[in-house]
């Protein structure tokens, strides 16, 4: 384990709460969270339990980050077309 990961692991251990939401609850709520962010609101303050789960769960965080970035591109009218996406895979 390298230094950064060890530090992050310690932080995660200390950020542990007695009750945390599950991955299913996270999946259920994450589109709302992303929509708040796209609207420029403080999603983490509005939905702290979801934010806590995202900080602890790599799988849910990876999905969230992709959803957020895709949604931001869409908001700017820059979500790539099917052709562009297919062509960019080499």
């Amino acid at each position: 384990m390298d230094r950064n990961r060890f530090e992050n692991w310690l932080k995660n251990i200390y950020a542990t709460r007695e009750e945390e939401i599950s991955c299913s609850e996270c999946f259920d709520l994450v589109s709302r969270f992303v929509e708040l962010e796209v609207a420029g609101q403080d999603a983490a303050a509005r939905m702290p339990e979801l934010k806590q789960h995202l900080d602890q769960c790599r799988a849910c965080r990876d999905e969230y980050e992709s959803l957020r970035d895709l949604r931001l591109l869409e908001e700017k009218g820059e979500f790539p077309s099917l052709d562009d996406l297919q062509n960019s895979i080499q």
């Binding site: 060890f6 769960c57 895979i89």
Partner: protein, 223 residues
């Protein structure tokens, strides 16, 4: 919520998907197209997972993800509460499927034994490697104490399953869905095992008087 997405409001999406005939057919085609783009978007960000796979096969995987996601969306239509754009809600099914496909591809061929291997040296490989450059006897003694506490918890306080999951995910960085598949369980169960393990580790460290700032300072290289 009246938000437009590709020409349809949320209500229009729901109406079209729940009706029949040409309106439904068109909506299904449009939705599948959007889900395919979401899956391809994820694959493009994670091409390293497909190292060695040819382009046609990757595109085929994306088609499969889109189809699987479409079925999942249709099966969960009643769960949509309208607290986001319909398409944002739908994209997450495609991204979820794409992530599971990509991670599975990356980790196939690694044995469970290899991914569950653990020994004491794995804790502080980095600290040992550059010990001479910054470590002091006091710092070393404290680091040894912390590593001893963590090891004690891992070896004696965790259940066998908690230990296995922690070693796979924390020490070997195996993605959750790979662990889910190998152990034949689900994300919620794995998350709960890690959560319980974290609680035990936190309680043990705090019971010995260690707080997070102090710990991080102890392991951080002096600037």
């Amino acid at each position: 919520m009246l938000s437009m997405s590709d020409g349809r409001t949320n209500e229009e999406w729901l109406y079209a998907l729940n009706t029949s005939g040409e309106i439904q057919e068109t909506a299904l085609t449009d939705l599948r197209d959007l889900l395919l783009r979401a899956a391809l978007y994820f694959f493009n960000r994670n091409l390293a997972d497909f190292d060695g796979m040819n382009r046609d096969k990757i595109l085929h995987c994306a088609e499969d993800c889109a189809q699987e996601a479409l079925i999942a969306v249709l099966n969960h239509l009643l769960d949509f509460r309208g607290d986001s754009k319909f398409t944002t809600w739908a994209y997450k099914f495609a991204i979820n499927t794409a992530l599971m496909t990509a991670r599975r591809e990356r980790w196939k061929g690694r044995s469970l034994e290899e991914l569950s291997f653990f020994d004491n040296s794995m804790f502080f490989e980095w600290a040992m490697a550059d010990e001479s450059s910054w470590s002091t006897p006091d710092r070393s003694a404290l680091q040894d104490e912390i590593s001893h506490i963590l090891r004690e918890v891992i070896e004696h306080d965790l259940t066998e399953k908690q230990r296995q999951v922690l070693i796979m995910m924390v020490f070997h960085e195996v993605p959750m869905d790979e662990v889910v598949q190998r152990l034949g369980t689900n994300r919620n169960a794995i998350y709960k095992m890690l959560h319980d393990a974290r609680r035990k580790l936190k309680n043990s460290l705090q019971a010995r008087g260690f707080e997070v700032g102090e710990l991080l300072a102890l392991f951080r290289e002096p600037r």
